[in-house]
């Protein structure tokens, strides 16, 4: 194979013509070269990971928005995505003209890191109830005390619980899809089950303008 095929059999020359004897080896070096070349090509070009999808349910469209009253939500948080920043406020929105118990709503700034003021840290503390209870359920599941289907059902119930955080996402005109997906991703990390992308109200728009 890797050796040079020796010139087999007797020499040409005088005497009887003999059938060539000896080595029937074929030089396989070029074939092996090609095999390795192809191997390298396929190793380098093949991609194994299929793209993943992230499901998100949008609220159904209503024909006449004026007839629908905003439902009262416990434990709501609103995130506003603007340009490259993310703002939030908790609970209901109180405009300046009609301040709530703690005065008018103020927008707080957050970031997509892992440190102080990051969305991840805040959500982890807001949604602590759900995260803690999910861990308990997970333990039960690991010990085989509850079935798989029971676990998913209980977790689903947990995320719509009174204590669980519900999140509204509002975006301004300059927000990028990346920050939107990042935010939804953070919400999924924090086990937030109720996520509703909605439109900015005029009062919120004004508040946003002041910030910039």
């Amino acid at each position: 194979m890797a050796e040079i095929a020796e010139s087999g059999g007797g020499g040409h020359g005088k005497g009887k013509k003999r059938a060539k004897k000896g080595s029937t080896r074929v030089d396989m070096t070029p074939m092996v070269d090609l095999a390795f070349l192809l191997l390298t090509f396929f190793v380098l070009t093949s991609t194994f990971s299929k793209p993943k999808v992230m499901p998100l349910n949008y609220p159904a469209k209503v024909k006449d928005p004026s007839t629908v009253k905003a439902p009262k939500v416990n434990n709501a948080a609103t995130f506003i995505l603007a340009d490259d920043k993310v703002y939030y406020y908790r609970g209901e929105f109180y405009p300046k003209t009609k301040p709530g118990p703690n005065g008018p709503t103020q927008l707080e700034e957050a970031n997509f890191g892992t440190g102080e003021n990051s969305v991840r840290k805040m959500l982890a503390s807001w949604n602590e109830y759900v995260i803690r209870n999910k861990a308990i359920l997970q333990q039960k599941l690991d010990k085989k005390q509850i079935a798989d289907s029971t676990f998913t059902r209980l977790v689903d119930e947990l995320t719509v619980d009174k204590e669980a955080v519900k999140v509204l996402i509002k975006t301004d005109d300059k927000a990028l899809c990346k920050s939107f997906i990042d935010l939804v991703d953070e919400l999924k990390i924090a086990n937030v089950g109720v996520i509703a992308p909605t439109d900015l109200s005029p009062a919120e728009k004004d508040l946003l303008k002041e910030k910039n």
Binding site: M1, T45, S49, K52, L176, C177, S179, I189
Partner: protein, 221 residues
Amino acid sequence: MPKIKMPKGTPSIDMTPMVDLAFLLVTFFMLTASFRTAEPVTVETPSSISDKIIPENVIMVTLDRDGRVFFNLSDPEARKEMLGSMLSKYKVNLNEEQVEEFSFMSTFGCTMQELPAYMNTEAARRVDFPTKGIPTDSTRNELLDWISFAAAAAANTGKTAFEEAKLKGGEPKMEDFKPKFILRVDSKTLYKDAATVIDVFRELNLNNLNFVTSAEAIPVN
């Protein structure tokens, strides 16, 4: 002491096992490699922790960073049906060859008027096809028609596939055969543009959407 005899001639190593292995690996990679089909648009998807793999029967709307809209339906049979409905609605004609090619094409994006010219362009050149994508404005909402015809056609083929799977035995779930709606956005697409497409879906009462993302590790606490 006797002299050590040095072997004469060329030393030979048996390389057969190594070559066997090389070919085995070549075969493996050849069979597992999945080649990406040529797409008329490049999209860099954002990343998320989601580990749900993209389903089979999909209706996919792609948005590039300029907000142009592209469309794809995975099932070739359903594509033909959808194209037929679209051609008769917009009174555009394509010859049989073009219809055949359309059913095996992947993502496309052009207005109905541009469609014959688009089909005449070579597959590799379609990236440069001058188009603004599928129109989504309320006066001429072609995307709405594409999606509604596609949803109807894909639901039909999904049903047939479900019946077939049922005949083969096992307990297939109808849910797995229903078309899924996928939105593929570039990281740098404005959310405003994505929202117009999402509104089209919502108009058709399709509120369950999926965003294509690349995988990212789940953070450990």
